[in-house]
């Protein structure tokens, strides 16, 4: 039976096509075709707008990456306790964590985002206490809602992953740690957590790629990420394809970057091919 982890590996892009033995005769032909298409794309499509927007695009990429890294880190911090209580917590917490994961994983992120921004966000100003509070300048902005929604979503998906990872750490290794007199916290910090994270790395890789692909949704609540910049270009230039193709290319590169970064981390602790 395939585990949950391998399912995600199969569905998310976690590996790049390998370069070994890349140059085969048919590949040269394919590359020639690809080059021809690329040439046509450059020659026959309109790219004159590109220099005007280069700065804004770079800024958008920055926002996208910031959203990605920020929400992944925050989400992961939440995911650890969510995963842990499901493995070792008392039953009320276990139930709570389980319910949280089910609800968040069972509804579209877009909806959650709008619920937070348009729903919750429109309730806040009705309470003068909130309106007068020091938090108000923050709550007026759109990005906190985007960060919150993406973080919650990542935490829910990752909580499930971490649950599996925590449960999958061999009991013997934890027992060994206890047998050498480590306190419970030390066992968790030195053995259980790092070992679980290590186990979960390939899955985390996939989930992070999926998270990257979720970031453009924040554009629908007025956060200016790279997707929003490209939308804007489309609206101003009335070009249908060119900006979208550029956007696809940007995300391809970002994904490749992520996959390479994870490969670096995964290779730090080698595992025997399983």
């Amino acid at each position: 039976m395939m585990s949950e982890e391998s399912t995600i590996e199969a569905t998310a892009l976690t590996q790049l096509p390998s370069g070994r033995g890349f140059f085969k005769p048919h590949r040269l032909v394919l590359m020639a075709v690809a080059a021809a298409i690329l040439f046509c794309a450059i020659w026959f499509m309109r790219w004159d707008w590109l220099p005007d927007y280069a700065g804004r695009l770079a800024h958008g990429v920055g926002v996208t990456l910031l959203m990605l890294v920020g929400t992944c880190l925050l989400g992961f911090l939440l995911a650890v306790p969510i995963g842990l209580v499901q493995v070792a917590g008392p039953w009320p917490l276990k139930l709570l964590a389980k319910g949280f994961c089910t609800v968040i994983r069972g509804t579209p992120l877009l909806l959650q985002l709008w619920l937070l921004y348009y729903g919750l966000g429109s309730l806040f100003p009705q309470f003068p206490a909130i309106r007068q509070s020091f938090l108000w300048p923050l709550l007026r902005e759109a990005w906190p809602y985007g960060v919150a929604a993406l973080t919650i979503s990542f935490a829910a998906y990752e909580g499930e992953v971490m649950r599996g990872a925590f449960a999958g750490v061999p009991a013997g290794e934890l027992e060994a740690a206890r047998a050498y007199g480590m306190s419970r916290w030390k066992v968790f910090r030195r053995i259980w957590l790092p070992r679980a994270v290590h186990r979960a790395l390939p899955t985390l890789n996939g989930e992070t790629v999926l998270q990257l692909k979720s970031t453009p949704l924040v554009a629908t609540i007025t956060v200016i990420d790279v997707y929003a910049v490209v939308s804007k270009i489309r609206q101003v230039t009335y070009l249908t394809y060119e900006p979208l193709l550029l956007l696809a290319l940007i995300y391809l590169c970002l994904t490749a970057l992520l996959v390479l970064a994870f490969r670096y981390f995964e290779n730090k602790i080698p595992t025997r091919s399983a």
Binding site: M1, M2, E4, S6, T7, I8, A10, T11, A12, L13, L16, P17, K24, H26, R27, V29, L30, T102, V103, R105, G106, T107, P108, L109, L110, L111, Q112, W114, L115, Y118, G119, L120, S122, L123, P125, Q126, F127, V209, L212, K213, S214, T215, P216, L217, T220, Y227, T240, Y241, L244, L245, L247, A248, Y251, L252, T255, A256
Partner: protein, 243 residues
């Protein structure tokens, strides 16, 4: 402006008859389900073809499929949906025009199914490929030794034997498909998310409608989970339980 909790929830907005929006939400849900089912089925077909192409196809087929699965899995669904929605239908129209059919009328439903299907196809390709590779080669060899022709082997042995391996991945994909329909809101297709937004915008009862839509999606997921469990139980007959 003081908040009056009681006035925050006006349940009559969810009534089935206008001016209640209940019927609209349900119609949106039906549209979402239709697209999810259509897109998922198309994805399965593409995925099956893709998996066999990747495993047994010629070098060019393999490379093209690799490009397909890599690109689709690396680019956000939202972007793909926009690209495919506009470019795909535009291309189809131009092809039809070139072939002398004039413009073909592509309904939003068909376009939505097409878009979700292409996206799902890439994922399904990978899931099925892994599942087919998990079928012990001896099973297929035995079928060949009994003189079964390739298509019969595919139908009678490879397909049912890979199913238990593919099911977890495929169920995941189904859940993704149901939720990806929400993205079609950005192209103005009136599925559940968009009608929710229209209802919320018209009535200003944002919380109520978003929660209602969330509940509908959640119900869809939970019912799906139930059905998936039944299917798995049936497909895994003959396998020694590992759980």
């Amino acid at each position: 402006m003081a908040a009056d909790p009681a006035s925050l929830i006006d349940w009559s907005l969810l009534a089935f008859d206008p001016p209640g929006w209940g019927a609209v939400l349900l119609a949106g849900l039906m549209n979402s389900i239709k697209i999810a089912i259509g897109g998922y089925s198309l994805g399965l077909v593409l995925g099956t073809g893709g998996a066999f192409g990747k495993l047994y196809g010629g070098p060019v087929t393999k490379d093209l499929l690799e490009v397909y699965t890599t690109v689709v899995r690396a680019v956000p669904e939202l972007v793909l949906i926009l690209l495919l929605y506009y470019a795909g239908t535009d291309l189809l129209n131009r092809l039809a025009a070139a072939a002398g059919y004039g413009t073909v009328d592509i309904s939003g439903l068909a376009a939505g199914i097409f878009v979700i299907g292409v996206v799902q196809g890439a994922y399904a390709t990978e899931v099925m490929r892994g599942a087919i590779r998990a079928v012990p080669p001896g099973q297929i060899e035995a079928a060949r030794a009994f003189g079964m022709p390739p298509l019969l082997i595919l139908w009678r042995v490879t397909f049912p034997a890979m199913l238990p391996h593919a099911l977890p991945g495929l169920s995941n994909l189904w859940l993704i498909a149901t939720k990806d329909t929400a993205l079609l809101a950005v192209v103005g297709f009136s599925e559940l998310t968009l009608v929710t937004r229209q209802a919320a915008g018209s009535t200003k009862a944002y919380m109520l409608f978003f929660c209602a839509a969330g509940a509908l999606y959640l119900a869809l997921t939970l019912v799906s989970n139930l059905v998936i469990r039944l299917i798995e139980l049936r497909a895994r007959r003959g396998w020694v339980s590992t759980r």
